[in-house]
């Protein structure tokens, strides 16, 4: 575990240590619109990831957050090379753990940051089409690992309990297929985009 994760864990422990002072919880459900980026010649279409977060306020301005995310199957552009026509797609899910400091700047509005680390499981599928009479098929491989995320958000309260959330967010999964393929084929996957969702406080 690298130094960043240790720091985040330390902050989370600090937040939980103040738990008796907190009496607020917040559950948020968001849709994360993102274009995955594998850092190569990939050209993914926009996809959606469902994100559910549980926030526990250990201080009035600081929450510990944990969450779950699951994507739809997000497809890469169909393309052709000397082998044939192919299309890759990716599907991912995982857990997040982090901190959410926030600042109330008016009665109904606040800004917040959101950062932490994540555990992922990602499935990569490739479909290939050759010429008539040749085998056509698909191949699927799954990988898991860890990563991190960070976001900047704005929340607007409709009522005391229900609020709207908008976030600009990046989620980064590290070292996909590490240990399964050669070192030069290992890659990171980034998901950058925006979150739209609702949160319920209790």
């Amino acid at each position: 575990m690298n130094r960043t994760y240790k720091l985040i864990l330390a902050l989370i422990c600090f937040a939980f240590s103040n738990a008796p002072q907190a009496d607020n919880m917040l559950i948020g459900a968001n849709v994360f619109y993102t274009i995955p980026d594998a850092g190569g010649s990939d050209d993914f279409h926009t996809g959606k990831i469902l994100v559910v977060n549980y926030n526990y306020y250990s201080l009035p301005w600081l929450a510990v957050t944990s969450g779950f995310f699951a994507s739809e199957e997000i497809t890469d552009n169909t393309r052709r090379d000397i082998v044939g026509t192919y299309q890759a797609s990716i599907e991912t899910h995982g857990f997040t753990l982090g901190l959410r400091p926030e600042h109330l700047f008016s009665k109904r509005n606040k800004v917040y940051g959101h950062a932490g680390f994540l555990l992922y499981k990602t499935k990569l599928k490739v479909e290939e089409y050759f010429a008539p009479g040749l085998i056509t098929g698909s191949s699927t491989e799954t990988t898991d690992g860890n990563g991190y995320f960070f976001a900047l958000g704005w929340a607007h309260s409709f009522t005391q309990k229900v609020s709207f959330q908008f976030e600009l967010k990046t989620l980064r999964q590290l070292d996909l297929f590490d240990g399964q393929t050669t070192a030069e084929n290992v890659f990171d996957m980034s998901y950058t985009g925006f979150n739209l969702g609702l949160a319920y406080a209790f």
Binding site: A38, G39, G40, S41, D42, D81, I82, V83, G84, Y86, A88, L124, K125, V126, E128, F130, A131, L134, I135, T136, G137, S138, S139, T140, E141, F177, Q180, T181, T182, N185, V186, F187
Partner: protein
């Protein structure tokens, strides 16, 4: 018929080399392909001072380009280096690559191989994990060799500055006795104070034998846009223009020759200062390893020299 094929070979070859043909208007089919049967075109050229050979291949069935699929790919090699022809050439069904040849080996070998992982090497995902292999196709194992002719050495002209389009000059080079054919093409850039006009010509030679000299009129390169009679040269159009564009891109400074032939005629060459980059090709036919293979296979080496025309 064969002579007609042969005369267009450099154009075909360099057209196939082209990795992109941005904004160059060309027919997307290789010219002079027989309408019936299987036909293979293989070519290689090395330009002076370029440490690589540009290689290309195209296969046709009944004049329809055959796509290599499933990991079948052509490997071109010298004694020391090899490369897979993974990129599409300009024409349908053509594949091209640049084969390192710093030692100037003459023999270039071609072999059709089944390389499912190497053929996918430009994909972004781990191809060793995600790989659907249909197995080798019918062309795997086919082979051919090209012997490149000697480089045109000592290419020079008896004058390189001209003031009149009726002037002529003697183009000379060190002759060889192998019976190779010589071709002359040019890339011409004419400019006045504000505009530049670039175009290409294919010179009509009195004889195209490898005799070491050719008397050439400047009218093979410079013309009057107001003269409605046919100039004595052929404009480089279609595949020939794409061919020379690719060669210019290769030998000039990066970016300086982009879209060389895409300018419009705002300058009258006969009244303007023009730079003429003249290319001499020495080209030689080769044979396929299998006598059953129908097609054409050839190699060439080329050199260039620059002339200047200024009537003012």
């Amino acid at each position: 018929m064969f002579t007609r094929y042969f005369s267009s070979l450099p154009a075909i070859l360099f057209s196939m080399f082209s990795l992109s043909a941005c904004d160059i208007e060309i027919d997307n089919n290789l010219p002079d392909i027989p309408p019936q049967g299987r036909f293979v075109v293989v070519g290689a050229n090395q330009h002076t001072a370029i440490a690589s050979v540009q290689v290309a291949i195209a296969i046709f069935d009944n004049a329809i380009p055959v796509s290599l699929v499933g990991g079948d790919v052509v490997q071109a090699s010298t004694r020391e280096d090899s490369i897979l022809l993974l990129k599409d050439g300009v024409y349908n069904g053509s594949y091209a690559a640049s084969l390192p040849n710093p030692a100037n080996f003459n023999q270039i070998d071609f072999l059709m191989v089944h390389a499912p992982l190497e053929a996918r090497q430009d994909r972004w995902y781990p191809v060793d994990l995600l790989n659907i292999d249909p197995g080798p196709g019918e062309f795997v194992g086919a082979s051919a060799s090209i012997l490149l002719p000697p480089q045109p050495l000592n290419l020079q002209t008896d004058s390189n500055s001209f003031i009149n389009s009726n002037d002529s000059f003697m183009l000379s080079w060190s002759p060889e006795s192998a019976g190779d054919i010589m071709k002359v093409r040019s890339a011409v850039s004419c400019t006045d104070d504000t505009n530049t006009y670039t175009y290409g010509t294919e010179a009509t030679l009195i004889d195209d034998t490898d005799d070491g000299s050719e008397n050439i009129s400047l009218q093979q390169f410079i013309y009057d846009i107001n003269d409605t009679t046919q100039p004595p040269f052929e404009f480089l159009l279609g595949q020939s223009r794409a061919a020379l564009q690719e060669l210019l891109t290769l030998i000039k400074e990066e970016g300086s020759a982009e879209d060389f032939f895409n300018s419009v005629s705002l300058v009258n060459p006969i009244n303007s200062a023009c730079e003429i980059q003249l290319f001499l090709f020495r080209q030689r036919d080769s044979t396929f390893d299998s006598i059953e293979t129908n097609g054409r296979i050839f190699g060439s080496r080329s050199a260039d020299v620059t002339l200047n025309y200024d009537p003012n």
